[in-house]
Symmetry: C2
Subunit: 341 residues, 2 copies
Amino acid sequence: MPRKDDMQLAARRVRMEEVARVAGVSLATVSRALKAPETVSKKRLALVREAAERLGYAPNRIAGSLAGTSSPLIGVIVPSLTNAFFAATLDRMSAILEEAGYQMMIGQHDYDIEREERIVTAFASWNPAALVVTGRDHTRGTLALLTAATCPVVEMWDHDERPIDSAIGFSNRRAGQLAGRYFAEGGFERVAFVGAILSSDPRAAARAEGFAERFTEGGRQAPLIMTAAGRDIAEGGIALRQVLQQQPDTRAIAFSGDMLAVGAMFEAARLGLSIPEDIAIMGYGDLDIAACTNPPLTTIRPPHEKIGKAVAKHLLDRIGHDDAGRENLDLGVELVVRATA
Amino acid sequence: MPRKDDMQLAARRVRMEEVARVAGVSLATVSRALKAPETVSKKRLALVREAAERLGYAPNRIAGSLAGTSSPLIGVIVPSLTNAFFAATLDRMSAILEEAGYQMMIGQHDYDIEREERIVTAFASWNPAALVVTGRDHTRGTLALLTAATCPVVEMWDHDERPIDSAIGFSNRRAGQLAGRYFAEGGFERVAFVGAILSSDPRAAARAEGFAERFTEGGRQAPLIMTAAGRDIAEGGIALRQVLQQQPDTRAIAFSGDMLAVGAMFEAARLGLSIPEDIAIMGYGDLDIAACTNPPLTTIRPPHEKIGKAVAKHLLDRIGHDDAGRENLDLGVELVVRATA
DNA sequence: CTGTTAGCGCATTCAG
DNA sequence: CTGAATGCGCTAACAG
């Protein structure tokens, strides 16, 4: 490991001290000129900026974070990076936060709350400016860490009473209720709900519950609740066949995701079933594809991008502004009626 | 802002010094016990571990990174988080790197290389253990930063001569050639290539070039190259109509993405066109959906997940091991013939 | 408005 | 194998 006073070819990265020397001011003035320009005289501000520019100075954020109160790092944990919903949320967040000079550290736990705990632990040790997690289902350890955290904590994608700190999302139970009531009002007798891995996705499980709850309200027979092995489109077709086998008189199926629904539509076509005449289909997510299928998919639209924007803005509000308080926002969810149900 | 010697309710985070005190050893011993257990006697190792456990000690990674040579942070920059290809790559990388104790900082530039430069600059100031960018198309500034970087730099998703440092990907031109040759051999006379925003996506542009190059080889008429306004499924249908309008005798279309191709298939159905009899369709990406459509989509499969794994492993190899050298890997690409072409 | 002075929490010399 | 001492590069009091 080379020592810094060795003769070295690799130029050392330029430090604040050199900028100060070149600009003919003190270290502190450089620091202020860069972080709070309004607290420095115009004359020196210009000197510092010019020197920094000329030397190609880039501050060392690690050092800055150690000396300062907290780091411009925001930890965000989602179940999966490949899930289009969370990707949309992350996309919006990153656009806004990057603009404001924050960096997102992203972690995924694959619907495993033990892994979530490990990631929260790891993130906490970076002294982040904020921590964002998905949902309200955590281990006791995660809960303890998050409760003790000195930075703002946001639970997103779920709305409920008494969040740890702030929560921004919507009610998944209500989303399920929307579908259940719609099927009930549609006069269907026998229906089913297909959810991907309901045991590990508490949000999908909440939708299933809400669905069953509302559908059975008028004294109707309880829906068949079926678990699909995954969220991919291929599972949709498999699930359709299974539902029809277990409950042949099923006339309507609600899926926990649009891709499952589309897979079922493709499979229905292969089976010679027409939609919605033979079987009605409802999706969840309102992905771009929903509007394009034949016939276009009736689905439920969660506020994926709205969540991203709202979380990012809330964070920016709270970081720094001591007056900005916690928040518990329900962004709502809507039924988009198209032609499959 | 509370000072640390104030009476405070919020417990201060436990530091290494407290662990040292409780374990009855020096600070240095704690540090060594935690980072290089083999350099400490069994007896003290146990003492330190117990104390750390009991106090719930979590090291401050910011401080560690400042004192140490570099940080366990890996900067990864992709064009878009919502693009399923990059999402798959990030997913694999994060799984492997997280396991090894590294944190990914993810940035997206939305196919804007000026924004890429800003993100690279920001990431560099975190003293990362490695930097990963997508593709080989960079501003001069980015090039300068990356060339001067003291950490490993990987350009992924593209393969070419002379990368900045390491490169792991495949040849997009070759991917295009595969499609061009297939259409030529299929005996088509008039064909088209539809690419999303070709002006800003150099990889899609390379595929278009490769496509035209091979298709025209036998003296065939040059294909119509058409730019779609976006990557979403809805654009596929729009593009199909435009192609048919501009070149009514088109008998085969290659798309720069599976979702565009699927959108075109849905639109073709609405237009009463049958696939592949009236018009042949080829996708790119081999997303899950490709195998499920009616008929199943013929497409080209890039090694999305393989790239993620290979990049992560290469990084782990290189970080620390001075002996591990640069790499320039072509992971290949394959044509998946199904039923649309 | 400015410069001087102290650390931030840890990794790493160096002596023992 | 261990402990004392030093400093990573910067920010935040503080006094002028």
